[in-house]
Amino acid sequence: MTKLTPVLSAHWDEKDSFTLEGYKRHGGYTASAKALKMEPDAIIQQVKDSGLRGRGGAGFPTGMKWGFIPQGDNKDHYLVVNADESEPGTCKDTPLLLANPHVLIEGMIIGSYAIRAKYAFIYIRGEVTHVVRRMQQAIEDAYKAGYLGKNIFGSGVDLELVLHVGAGAYICGEETALLDSLEGFRGQPRLRPPFPAIAGLYARPTVVNNVESIASVPSIISNGAEWFQSMGTEKSKGMTLYSLSGHVANPGQFEAPLGITLREILELAGGIRKGHQLKFWTPGGSSTPLFTVEHLDTPLDYEGVSAAGSMLGTKALQIFDETTCIVRAVLRWTEFYKHESCGKCTPCREGTWWLVQILKDLESGKGTEADLDKLIDLCDNIMGRSFCALADGAASPIVSSLKYFRSEYMDHLRNGGCPFDPHASTLFDKAGV
């Protein structure tokens, strides 16, 4: 039985975990002081050695990303943290920043120093006002303490940190769209190459990292690469936040080594809500292909989830029990993607517009079995054909749901409508409480 390994979340239960004092009580800002005495390249090497991979979904090795920044090029470099957490189900960065904003600031100090950036940016989701305020306070406190600004920690290094509040677009979580938005343009993904490491923010070499990736850095500097390596599986090292939501007894954040299984996490969370059984779940948010009961023992690391036909994504484990109508759930997600499609490319813009209409018809029992094949074919015409990965995410739940629950779609057609009682799946429904 895998045990939880709280590092980022270790002190979330303390009343003042989000304050500078609360953070420092447990050794906060010692890692950055230590890092500033190291050679920048040594930090990059240490992060490489740790095996830390991007926690935003793609799992790209963080140290390698930092290593791509050309050095000695006489250009400004930028570190940009992607805190635009917007995917349905994904909810790790928001609580992390609410409970411990300073760990991100400390990670950014180390990361900026490593890539020789004098300016760092946090692009944060605008809707989470409480987190924005807390982040603002934390930055202000860090400036006052001399951890940000000129000559930080008396090291001679300067670092300005800018908090940028997004205006609420899912696409701005895509790193190049985020950069456009940060520059003041409409958030739409950019053509690559050039990649951000060569021409990112303001056409300067830029690293874009997820909140959790950067927040993991201080612990690596403090405890060493080996310590980090001791957690996780062969190619997926370290601890990470699993966000459990939906029809479970105790939803929330579970910080565990990569490779833990859903069965283990469910056990820690008190299981599926009483009197119900698991029907399907997402391993990493709504854009990752669905899993079912048969995947309970799939190791939740990058390779394990991928081998089982999905993606680890943001480790947003959305749990749905047998009261949930698959068609209804998929339709809701698809509506989300239609609403959030930026409109730049054809398959995503027009495809999601169309998919929603077909799914709506299917939910209300209209259509024929041929529509299911059409749905699959349209998804085939969307996936891998769009400008960015958003459209792949939009098609994933549809394709995977048809793979596992085609008969349930058919039930809607035979039934002339949805056979489920929508109230039964709500958390406020009496059943199971």
Binding site: E340, C342, T346, P347, R349, E350, R385
Partner: protein, 781 residues
């Protein structure tokens, strides 16, 4: 001649090997093989965007295949690349069919009423690449339609496929980012800023490159079906940029003009004036028959023989001056040139129906005619200096070419000017601010290299000594001079010798060998040897009785610096006018010959580069004759034939004269003179805007709607002294008249006041009798 070394890359597309220069995009390499990959957002002159996804193909490089189809419009070729298009890859074919199906999801099936129907890339490619039947059974998005994004461009949002060609053109090519994509998802749409319409001089290009019927020109909307139009390649008559165009005619009426494709000149663009200002041809007041003034003093219609006889009578044996106008074709100008020398026996001929000077005439003969500065020189220049020239207003394609290099390689641009214009701001030009009349001094201080280009406008002659300073600067640094007049006919008129100091081919009148050359070809004994009068002198001579008659082409006497003298000269002499519509000249003429407009005849212009811009008759069956044909008839009647009974014969004979290879005309530099400016005074400066009250723009209200508003521009210092702010009325006056306009405070020399030369409420030559360099009073109105 230097040869550029280009790295070639060889790849295989659909089994065929092809070699293309490094950096070529896959979609373009395929074109080279004749393989057409469908596309919408892709445009060879715009940066790749990869938005529409229509051009997906399968690609592998050295055995490694991309896991999914790639947009061929964004990927440059690489060695060892194997590309499979829809022709050889089932995956690519399905991907393209899928995208086409998606594009049609929200596209209305209104082809039967859509202007684009019949020439629509979406329609065509839906046929070539799409499914026969749609599988879409849902609801399409709906928008209110159409919306005006300017007075001349309409937007049907539901037809838009969001390829962003229009927005990218406006930003990347014209630097007028007045339209942008708004909203998101399927509701994404092209839009303008609030209260800020799409008033770009180049907006028509977006209509032309729109791959669907989303953007339409207000004047052409619902006017024709493409298959009813007869298209003729043509050349623009509006300015000296020399744009290739296409003229579309239905049943004898021009309905539309499009930018032609000429990579060396206008690439694929033109300006809105070239595109939309052609209704003057079909104006209701066109003169259709010859007119002769009868005994009672009334102009009445006459037969051709009667009119020819009347004109011949009035001219024969008299002292005659010839005013050609700046809009004649090369062939017509040649006709006037020969007519003046052979039939009238005079060198008193000038095409410059505008403010001009003798310094300019000498400059043209010594530094312009026979030289060849080209667009290519701009492409290669290290520095472009503008003198008396506002490219955006006065030669828009020269402006676009400069802008391209400003964007691409930070081309350095400097402008000796009295005011920093919008266009020069877009060019990032270094503004060398001068008081009107002090240009020469500023020019003499500039450093250039042999790779630099000096673009000189026709207004440079309005400042004494400026052209002399340009000549000296070019001599000192080796920089090339390009003279860019506003009117399309001027470079050709110089070459044809429609000016008092030059014979055809740039031959100096004063050179006996040159005269012998021409006399031989013309089969005459001799050619008058005295340098002729210039346009102003012709008017004065006519007024004072030293000339008895005038032959006047398309000239507006109100364009002259001596507009008052011009009108009385016309009143006092026998005038033969060649015109298309009634004017101040026809009102005073004794004989008026109706002539063909440019769409009704063949011929050629010569653009500022000296490049021939030939065109054929676009409107067949017109009864109007080209000027040269009428002149030839007139010469016959006068007993001194010029034997140019067709455009073709004129063109042939002109070509046979070839260029002068003898000594060039000499140039005597002039010096500038400065005026002292009193407290409430300023030196007037002005230029014509691209869209203004010019008579060739008559009748096109949608175009006129996007003209820049008339203002009087003063410096902040003067505004503070006058106590005025933007929008306040300011009066500019002299002894002859006054103009009152809203004031705009801009970057202008403190001693100067600027107004548009010929715009609504601001006709300077008519009202003030002056357009630049003279003292005027400036005060709060």
């Amino acid at each position: 001649m230097t040869t550029e070394v280009v790295d070639m890359i060889t790849l295989v597309i659909d089994g065929f090997e092809v070699s293309v220069p490094k950096g070529t995009l896959v979609i373009r390499a395929a074109e080279k093989l004749g393989i057409q990959i469908p596309r919408f957002c892709d445009h060879p002159l715009l940066d790749p965007v990869g938005a529409c996804r229509q051009c997906l193909v399968d690609i592998e490089i050295n055995g490694r295949a991309f896991p999914k189809p790639q947009a061929s419009c964004t990927i440059p070729v690489e060695p060892g690349m194997i590309v499979k298009t829809q022709l050889t890859s089932a995956v690519a074919q399905k991907a393209q069919e899928g995208i086409m199906e998606f594009l049609l999801v929200n596209h209305p099936l209104d082809c039967p009423v859509c202007d684009k129907g019949g020439e629509c890339p979406l329609q065509n490619q839906a046929m070539s690449t799409g499914r026969g039947e749609s599988r879409f059974e849902g609801k399409k998005r709906l928008f209110d339609k159409p919306i005006n994004i300017s007075s001349q461009v309409l937007l049907d949002r539901e037809r838009c496929v969001l390829c962003a060609r229009c927005t990218r053109f406006s930003e990347q090519i014209a630097s007028d980012p007045f339209i942008t994509l708004n909203e998101r998802g399927a509701l994404q749409q092209v839009g303008i800023y609030e209260n800020q319409p799409f008033e770009s001089y180049f907006s028509g290009n977006t209509v032309q490159i729109c791959p669907v019927g989303a953007l339409t020109g207000a004047s052409y909307r619902f006017q024709a079906r493409p298959f009813d139009l007869v298209s003729t390649p043509s050349s623009c008559e509006h300015c000296a940029s020399g744009c290739a165009q296409r003229t579309d005619v239905r049943r004898g009426k021009t309905l539309r003009r499009l930018a032609g494709d000429d990579p060396e000149v206008n690439e694929e663009w033109n300006c809105d004036k070239g595109r939309w200002a052609f209704k003057y041809v079909t104006a209701l007041d066109r003169i259709t028959n010859p007119l002769v003034r009868d005994a009672s003093g009334e102009l009445r219609e006459a037969s051709w023989p009667e009119a020819i006889a009347a004109a011949a009578d009035g001219l024969k044996g008299n002292r005659v001056g010839v005013l050609v106008g700046g809009r004649a074709t090369v062939e017509d100008a040649y006709g006037y040139s020969k007519f003046a020398r052979v039939t009238l026996g005079t060198n008193d001929i000038d095409f410059r129906s505008r403010v001009s000077s003798d310094e300019e005439r000498e400059f043209l003969a010594s530094h312009v005619v026979g030289t060849s500065t080209t667009y290519r020189d701009i492409d290669r220049a290290d520095h472009v200096l503008l003198v008396g020239f506002e490219p955006e207003e006065e030669s828009p394609i020269v402006f676009l070419r400069m802008l391209k290099h400003v964007k691409k390689r930070a081309l350095k641009v400097s402008a000796v000017a009295t005011k920093l214009s919008i266009g020069n701001e877009k060019l990032g030009a270094t503004f060398l601010s001068v008081a009107p009349g002090s240009e020469a001094d500023a020019i003499s201080k500039i450093e250039l290299t042999a790779k630099s280009v000096i673009l000189v406008g026709e207004r440079a002659c309005e400042s004494a000594g400026a052209l002399s300073a340009v000549a000296a600067l070019a001599h000192r640094t080796g920089a090339k001079i390009g003279w860019v007049p506003r009117r399309a006919g001027e470079p050709g008129a110089i070459a044809a010798g429609a000016i008092g100091n030059l014979l055809p081919g740039g031959r100096p009148v004063s050179d006996p060998a040159a005269r012998v050359d021409v006399a031989t070809v013309w089969g005459v004994d001799s050619i008058p040897s005295a340098v002729g009068k210039n346009a102003d002198e012709i008017f004065v001579a006519a007024k004072t009785g030293q000339l008895d008659a005038l032959v006047v082409g398309g000239v507006d006497p109100l364009d002259s610096a001596l507009s008052a003298e011009a009108l009385s000269a016309l009143d006092q002499t026998f005038v033969v006018s060649f015109e298309i519509r009634p004017s101040a000249v026809t009102a005073r003429a004794n004989v008026v010959f109706p002539v063909a407009a440019v769409t009704e005849k063949s011929g050629s212009f010569m653009n500022w580069e000296g490049r021939a811009r030939e065109f054929d008759t676009a409107v067949e069956g017109s009864l109007h004759r080209s000027d040269v044909r009428i002149l030839s008839m007139l010469a016959d009647a006068m007993g001194k034939s010029i034997s140019l009974n067709s455009v073709k014969s004129a063109s042939k004979e002109f070509a046979s004269l070839s260029k002068w290879d003898g000594a060039r005309a000499t140039f005597t530099p002039s010096t500038s003179k400065s005026l002292s400016v009193g407290n409430d005074e300023a030196l007037l400066t002005s230029w014509r805007r691209l869209l203004d009250d010019g008579s060739l723009q008559d009748g096109e209200v949608n175009l006129a709607g996007t003209a820049r508003k008339s203002v009087v521009v003063i410096s902040q210092k003067r505004a503070s002294a006058l106590g005025v702010v933007d929008g306040d009325a300011v009066k500019v006056s002299n002894s002859q008249g006054s103009v009152t306009l809203p004031v705009l405070v801009e970057n202008i020399h403190d001693d100067a006041v600027w107004m548009p030369r010929n715009s609504r409420g601001s006709h300077l030559l008519e009202t003030l009798g002056t357009a630049s360099g003279t003292l005027v009073k400036v005060g709060k109105a």
